[in-house]
Amino acid sequence: MNKLRLGFFKYSCCMGCSYFFAYVHKHVPEVLASFDFVFIKMLSRKGIPDGPFDIALVEGTITEAWQADELKIIRGQSKKLFAIGSCAVIGGIPAIKATAPELEVEKRVYKNLSSIHSIKPHAVDAYVKVDGYIRGCPPAERDLYEALTSVLTGRKPDFPQHSVCIECKLKGNLCVLIADNMPCMGPVTNAGCGALCPSMNRACYSCFGPMKQANGPALAKKFKAMGISRDDIIRKFTEFGADTIEFRKAVEMVYED
């Protein structure tokens, strides 16, 4: 069997997804046998960023115009394009920047902004169509394999669509939101982590981002009833989800209330 051509592209992020991918814990031989790493900067010198690619993985938030341009070219050259990690999937941590006026935030970091060319941070799918989302920060291992095997076998990838709550129930965790009064984001957060934070005795902070069509405003109301301040609720919904519709709705509700 011919190996499939794989490209891995990094935009604005911690490069943790590349690092994670470079060390695919339990399946190194299988991955190496199935894919030709045409371009992955963290692993290889002299890679060629030109397509065609059977699969392109894109990590990082889009924060500079050249990235959007390059991304569009990669999309055109790739049969399947997956966003990997919360930065690429939902904007992630870098999208917090958009919660305040751009100049104000940038001025706090640089005195001279003449050589800084940042644009408003967005997820990858603000610019190109995405074939699948490998969610999480860091991404879920299972979802990474799912993306790779779906391309290998030519089927549609199957990613979890339910909330972290379901994972807690499956694990038999006591609910930290109800029993311990912790402001847990689990009810609106996409599964994939295995309910990690509630299992570690703390509230979920939504590093996997919102579950599709999650009811953010309802959870924000619950937080308010628990006595959590307006600003604290807004911070909960903007740590990882500042660039998402689901969490923006919650923030708007809190402002209007």
């Binding site: 911690c14 890679g47 941590i93 050589s115």
Partner: protein, 415 residues
Amino acid sequence: MKIDINYIARVEGESSVKLEIEGGKLKELRLNIWEPPRFFEGFLVGRKFDEVPDIVARICGICPVSHMTTAIRAMENAFGFKPSTEVKKIRKILALSQILSSHLAHLYIFALPDFFKLNSVVEMLPRYEKEIKRFLRLKDAANSITSLFGGRALHPVSMVVGGFTKLPSKADTEKAAKELESLHEDALETLKMASELKCPALENDAEFVALTGKGEYAINGGIISSTKGLNIKEHEYPSYFIEDEVPYSNAKRTVIKDRGSLMAGALARINLGFDNLLPDAKKASEDIGFKGGGNPFLNNLAQAVEIVHAFQECAILLRGLTLKEYFADFKVREGVGSALTEAPRGMLYHYYEIDRSGIITKANIVTPTAHNFLNLEESLKKLVTENIDKPEDELILMCEMLVRAYDPCFSCSVH
């Protein structure tokens, strides 16, 4: 002749080296760190103290534990809170496990292929299967320690101001200690392998800077010491270190006031803390005739020595845990706090101003690569000058190898 090395692979983040040679002489050389800024210090303002560790973890995919620990220690200093001895021990275990992961990845995946004249670790198979298998065994063990305490190896979740949210059982920590002890031979093999790599000669009279401790290989805090006599406390950092913007780079550059460039990282730690290494690591290092030095390429070897040390110290610390007093309550108060730790790639500084409700009003972060920036540029200049007659391909590879030897994190440096 102009050379633009704009594809520096096998490092974390984006950079390029631009140089110009005229009449057989190096005219100009710039390290252009074009990694896009994410403005962490900008958007941390307005966030609450308890979100900060989870946010700053995302500065770096390789050293999240360092950013979390440094931020937590800085905020604890601002609140006037002193963590328990147990908490300090666990923080050191986590830091050592991450130093192991980072060094192992750097040595085997990033640095090694150059010495075999290969482009990537993938090309090392099947010929170097033994080395790859050893790497996977060691890396697995290091990762499992981070996730044993942190919940996961990347961006752990249990670390908070005050201590930890949950700890593993005694049975689990004993099992982990045993696993680490069983890897001592593999760690020694790694050192042997690193000692056999032929590095170009390159002198570097930089000031090596690292945290040091009394009778301890310092990681989370200590005295800021240097090979040229610096000996100051953590909170005195801003009076001695100056951070400046560089017109051609998104990363800022840090120097020692009135003195100039510095080098931080494993080699600096070995140069300043060799006597505090555990006896086995010290002996293994002496057996191969290494006690530190100035050549930045020796950083690879220094990392290998630290691998031997860290596996052992981690096991010792694990054996000594009581697993009690892992969290204590604290009072949020208005204040200013800073802290330093030894991240895998060197000294890392975090500074926060916090208002009375725990909201960040100012943040400053200086990473190891910002500390090394100027020295790396100076070393590159020296390397090119001394090898100016070499063919272009060879010169380019040498420059890349030198950049990689510093084990830079450009994502961190810009943040």
